[in-house]
């Protein structure tokens, strides 16, 4: 080529039909969070059968799991296939403290955080220095370790698990009524989603995405990749552990059967389907993954097969997920973070 190409103006996003653009505007609007919360808040008014409350509470807990995994997989690009292990660690830690030592459930939360952070360090420590593939399979092994250990120890109740976990209560007020509990979970999960989103938009979050996009470049720019990856991994672990506390409080009984690889894979499914990295996308993905099987109870045999096929199809045809994260900074913050006038942007 003799003529050098001039810089092309950025192409409009592909497949941007009217509907697509409308959906994008909705998903990128700053009102998506409050509107989602509002919908969650009025849901029990529309339908309040015990079954519906149960499904909706489970869905919210699942949202929390998905948002936690999104930090690890979606933001930092580390594939964690044993995420249910942290869920289990949280549920078992709080369950054991609450039933054997009769701690109130709220008091177990600091202990849960400590234990999940330790678990994150034990697994992440050796593996985060290596190629990302190793992390995937080591986390898979770790998931099995936790499940088999819970199955064999007597303090975890063996295969029967732990039962009689008290529900949440604050200052002597019992919150075990299903509707009340739903609202408590809604508030906690909303805080968790918001917290994750704040983390994602912080300096640390930018470092996570940098590592996902190009780890070598990130390191060359002075990002301490090991420490930053560890931070993502531990944040994911804490989110998972806290979701485990809610899970124990909801069901009042936990057993190793709840923390299989299937559970980890479903959370991953939610993250991938929703669009890795985008918080609204992941929340919708999580709701989709939990609600759809309830709607298709009769097809239970086919649904996991369909999930597997769907993972492949989504990755091949639409690797950015159904609702991808935006990769550009919005205009309203771009002005603030521009470092000098006439900045050259490279896309």
């Amino acid at each position: 080529m003799t003529t050098t190409k001039t810089v092309q103006p950025p192409k409009p996003p592909a497949g941007g039909g009217g509907l697509g653009n409308a959906a994008k505007t909705v998903l990128r609007s700053r009102w998506i969070g409050p509107v989602g919360l509002f919908l969650g808040a009025i849901a029990p008014i529309l339908i309040a059968t015990p079954y519906a409350m149960n499904v909706m509470t489970s869905a919210l807990i699942f949202v929390m799991l998905a948002v936690g995994l999104n930090i690890v997989v979606g933001q930092c690009g580390l594939l964690d296939l044993g995420y249910a292990a942290f869920f289990a660690v949280g549920a078992y830690t709080s369950g054991i403290l609450a039933t054997r030592l009769h701690w109130p459930l709220l008091a177990t939360i600091p202990a849960v955080i400590v234990v999940t952070v330790l678990a994150g360090i034990v697994v992440g420590g050796p593996t985060l220095r290596l190629r990302s593939d190793y992390l995937a399979i080591v986390t898979l092994g770790f998931g099995e370790i936790i499940r088999v250990t819970a199955n064999n120890l007597s303090i975890t109740g063996g295969p029967e698990g732990i039962y009689g976990i008290p529900s949440l209560s604050v200052a002597g007020v019992d919150l075990s009524n299903s509707v009340v509990f739903y609202y408590v979970v809604l508030v906690i999960v909303a805080a968790a989603v918001l917290g994750a989103n704040r983390l994602i938009r912080s300096r640390l979050g930018r470092a996570w995405r940098f590592i996902r996009e190009d780890e070598d470049a990130a390191e060359a720019m002075g990002v301490h990749t090991y420490r930053v990856k560890m931070a993502a991994y531990i944040a994911g672990a804490v989110w998972g552990g806290l979701a485990g506390v809610l899970f124990g409080a909801q069901l009042s009984a936990i057993s190793p059967a709840s923390f299989t690889f299937l559970q980890s894979a479903l959370v991953l499914m939610a993250v991938v389907l929703g669009g890795m990295g985008s918080t609204p996308g992941v929340v919708i993905g999580a709701l989709f993954v939990t609600m759809l099987p309830e709607a298709l109870r009769g097809l239970s045999d086919y649904r996991y097969f369909a999930f597997g096929a769907l993972l492949i199809i989504v990755m091949v045809l639409r690797p950015q997920g159904l609702w991808p994260a935006r990769t550009r900074e919005p205009a309203r913050t771009a002005r603030r973070s521009a470092t000098f006038d006439g900045e050259v942007r490279i896309r």
Partner: protein, 297 residues
């Protein structure tokens, strides 16, 4: 003591067979094929289907017939491996590694639950059961069937090693493992060679599946999950990407598990193996025979 060692060697030869395929695909494509363990499961089920449809002449179901079934199942799983590569991995070869890992998980899921739809969730009983006579060597009870299975495993591994080291196709594979771009420039048909690697690796896993089915007698749709993890552990212990390492790693893992089971009890076997994997990755991530690899940017 001899019994423990023998048990370890026997289980280890299964791990080695599955680990070989894992390691081979990893060496060539730098991809962890999560569906590899499920190809082992698929092999066991294809063998099961063939054996039940031939059960009209069960009386003549000898070791020879079993070997024929073994070969047919190997072809079947090999083709399945090629299909998986074509559908799930090839379109994403230039995509970020994370996408490939996720499709690999999807392929594994689809195989497991696809088989559940076809064969049902309950374990199936293999129509043949290798048991029979045994000999005593140095205080260990060694089954004749075990000897035959180990013999088959060793024969398969030796054949593969010869193929990779001596044949033209094997040289192409090693060339791609070393540098795919340069190999393509030298006229190697990269797609074909990768498909062949998948065929061979999957066929080995399928062979291990049939052998495990006919030895242990019971198969189910999730049987590949744990063995896939174990095979990866074996491949890492030996040095992933290295053929001899995969074989060595399989045997080492088998022995470790055998001793671990003896001293800690059988229910801790898997925990022991995976904890060892994590420990091993901290101490020597390149494996026993692996070379230190510098990643190119």
């Amino acid at each position: 003591m001899t019994q423990i060692i023998w048990n370890g060697l026997f289980v280890g030869s299964f791990y080695a067979l599955v680990a070989l395929g894992y390691s081979m695909v990893y060496g060539i494509m730098k991809l962890l094929n999560f569906a590899h363990g499920d190809l082992y499961m698929l092999g066991a089920f294809i063998g099961f289907a063939l054996l039940t449809s031939f059960s009209g002449f069960t009386a003549t179901l000898s070791l020879v017939a079993l070997l024929v079934v073994l070969l047919l199942s190997m072809v079947g799983t090999g083709l399945a491996g090629v299909a998986i590569e074509r559908i799930a991995y090839r379109p994403l070869r230039s995509a970020p590694r994370l996408s490939l890992l996720i499709t690999a998980v999807g392929a594994s899921f689809a195989l497991e639950y696809g088989m559940r739809i076809i064969a049902g969730p309950n374990p199936q009983v293999y129509p043949v059961r290798l048991g029979g006579s045994s000999v005593h060597v140095l205080g260990a009870r060694i089954g004749v069937a075990q000897l035959v299975l180990i013999g088959v495993a060793i024969a398969l591994m030796v054949t593969l090693n010869a193929m990779v080291m001596r044949s033209r196709q094997g040289r192409a594979m090693r060339a791609i493992a070393l540098d795919p771009v340069a190999a393509r420039l030298m006229g190697v048909d990269v797609n074909r060679v990768i498909a062949m690697a998948f065929f061979i690796g999957s066929a080995l896993a399928g062979a291990a599946g049939v052998m495990a089915g006919s030895y242990y007698g019971s198969i189910n749709f999730l049987m590949g999950f744990i063995i896939g993890l174990k095979a990866f552990t074996a491949a890492v212990i030996g040095g992933i990407g290295s053929f001899k390492g995969a074989m060595l790693g399989g045997v080492v893992l088998g022995l470790l598990e055998s001793f671990g089971t003896h001293f800690l009890g059988g229910q801790w076997r898997d925990v022991f193996a995976f904890a060892f994997l994590i420990l091993f990755l901290t101490v020597r991530p390149t494996g026993l025979l692996g070379e230190r690899v510098t990643e190119r940017v």
